[in-house]
């Protein structure tokens, strides 16, 4: 925690210890008395607490988490999401990648993805990494409205929009709706063409 930085008076941010799995790190910090919220992204962790109360002993907890060997792996779920691959950008993506739409679908649905982080929208899980043969930068101009349950790709990630929102990712299909907050850090996701 030598790079610990303040986020105002009620939160700290620090670099994520590389060898710690996101969910295990989240669970260790969330269990500390006085910690209100823990947000884990690919490179960072933020911990929020009540500024009016004594600061939680985060250093000790993190040292303990980092030093713990053979920590039990938190329960992880595999979510299988059915997709109709008929998104508005499917053909354009295939063209930009110089592959067929069928190949794009095959590459996208062949992998089991890890939940890299959750953010942007409530329940929006960044899934990665996608096959490098379907990795595309985000759209130059974001859409003002992406329909809920759109399946999208951008950079190294794929995701399902759980709610309608603006968005800059490429839309390749529509997911069969699922419980919007079912996917947690540490879970895995597979897409199944429908």
């Amino acid at each position: 925690m030598n790079d610990r930085m303040w986020l105002g008076d009620a939160a700290l941010r620090f670099s994520r210890p590389a060898h710690l799995e996101a969910r295990a790190l989240h669970d260790a910090l969330r269990a500390v008395v006085g910690v209100i919220d823990v947000v884990v992204t690919e490179a960072h962790v933020a911990v929020t607490f009540d500024p009016a109360k004594p600061r939680p002993p985060l250093d000790a907890v993190l040292d303990q988490a980092i030093g713990a060997e053979n920590a039990p792996a938190p329960a992880s779920k595999l979510h299988v999401i059915a997709v109709s691959y008929d998104g508005a950008d499917l053909e354009a993506c295939a063209e930009a990648l110089a592959i067929s739409a069928d190949s794009l679908v095959a590459f996208h649905s062949a992998r089991v993805y890890d939940v890299k982080m959750i953010g942007f929208l409530p329940g929006f899980a960044y899934l990665g990494d996608v096959d490098e043969r379907i990795a595309l930068p985000r759209r130059a101009t974001p859409r003002t409205r992406v329909p809920a349950w759109s399946v999208a790709i951008a950079d190294r990630y794929s995701a399902v929009y759980p709610f309608a929102s603006p968005g800059g990712w490429h839309l390749i299909g529509m997911a069969t709706p699922f419980a919007p907050f079912a996917i947690d850090l540490g879970d895995r996701v597979r897409f199944e063409p429908r």
């Binding site: 008076d9 209100i36 823990v38 884990v40 933020a46 953010g119 409530p122 907050f181």
Partner: protein, 315 residues
């Protein structure tokens, strides 16, 4: 999500005190003190835009007893709301105005003013809406909480959690009959009128390496005004540009954790201060984060309000 109860359908309890929404314009939602603890799932902390006024309204509505404390669900009004009391006499509290007992049929109108863009109408006992992820507040982006996850509409019925048998003794005691000395709760308003250029305390960083050296001086020595682009997600300010390092601005940053009060700086150099319904992650660098107690000076400020930032050190 279809299991969340609608508050439009009557449950036949005509004697229960309620408010029927007659007219509404603007951003008018049910809010409580927030739903902490769910940010890992991407659910922001929520809570009132102006906590001091929210608590004041709840205290005026005599919500200081167990089960309906000063954090009871109330209506947050950015715009205008007209309600009519139904069923039984209902005690409401409004920030800056005080308690009012509404007889059935009485109409009450509450609107944003030049000084108070964000206002609260609390009811004795708190508004009866389902608890979702530990909170009753409306999260519009996820259509979650409050009244069907949306802004209020004409025809909505807001019921009090207070049971109809409890009798109010206005001005003489609490709902439980105990006398109390204070007829008006003592609440320090966060925004007194003379404070027309509030100092907003900010802890600098953590992404200072993304900014040109002059940017900090620009932030701390200039005035910024509140733009009309302000909602529960964030408030865009207008002022001199906070210059980012060109080389870094062009690079794509990984998303990082965000918090309420964070001052994001997009490539145009005009800062955005994150409000209670902010995304839990974001890619714009943070030049600073407003201290908790001062966030409402920004996110509940009237459009055009001029702000100055002052450096604060974390405890």
């Amino acid at each position: 999500m279809s299991t969340w109860r609608s508050s439009r359908d009557g449950d036949g309890d005509a004697s229960r005190a309620s408010l029927r929404v007659k007219r509404v314009t603007g951003l008018v939602t049910v809010q409580d003190a927030g739903r902490p603890g769910w940010m890992a799932r991407g659910i922001p902390p929520g809570g009132p835009l102006a906590p001091s006024r929210f608590h004041e309204a709840n205290l005026f509505a005599a919500n200081r007893i167990a089960g309906a404390g000063p954090s009871a669900a109330a209506v947050e009004v950015v715009g205008q709301l007209e309600v009519e009391a139904e069923g039984a006499t209902i005690l409401i509290g409004v920030d800056g105005e005080g308690p009012t007992a509404l007889e059935p049929g009485a109409v009450y109108t509450l609107r944003s003013t030049a000084e108070r863009r964000v206002r609260y109408l609390a009811v004795h006992g708190g508004i009866d809406v389902p608890t979702v992820f530990g909170g009753k507040g409306t999260l519009l982006v996820a259509s979650l909480g409050g009244c069907e996850g949306r802004t209020l509409r004409a025809g909505d019925r807001l019921r009090s959690l207070e049971s109809p048998s409890a009798r109010l003794r206005l001005g003489t005691g609490d709902a439980d009959g105990a006398p109390h000395s204070e007829t008006r709760p003592m609440v320090q308003a966060a925004d007194s009128n003379e404070d027309d250029r509030p100092r907003v305390r900010v802890v600098l960083g953590p992404d200072l390496e993304d900014f040109e050296d002059v940017a900090l001086g620009v932030l701390l020595e200039n005035e910024f005004s509140v733009s009309p682009q302000a909602d529960r997600v964030g408030t865009r300010l207008v002022g001199p540009r906070l210059l980012r390092k060109v080389a870094l601005a062009a690079a794509r940053r990984p998303s990082m954790p965000m918090v309420r009060g964070a001052i994001q700086v997009p490539p145009d150099g005009q800062p955005i201060v994150l409000g209670p319904d902010h995304p839990t992650t974001g890619g714009y660098p943070l030049i600073g984060v407003v201290v908790s107690a001062d966030v409402e000076k920004v996110v509940a400020a009237p459009v055009g309000r001029v702000l100055r930032f002052a450096r604060a050190l974390p405890a």
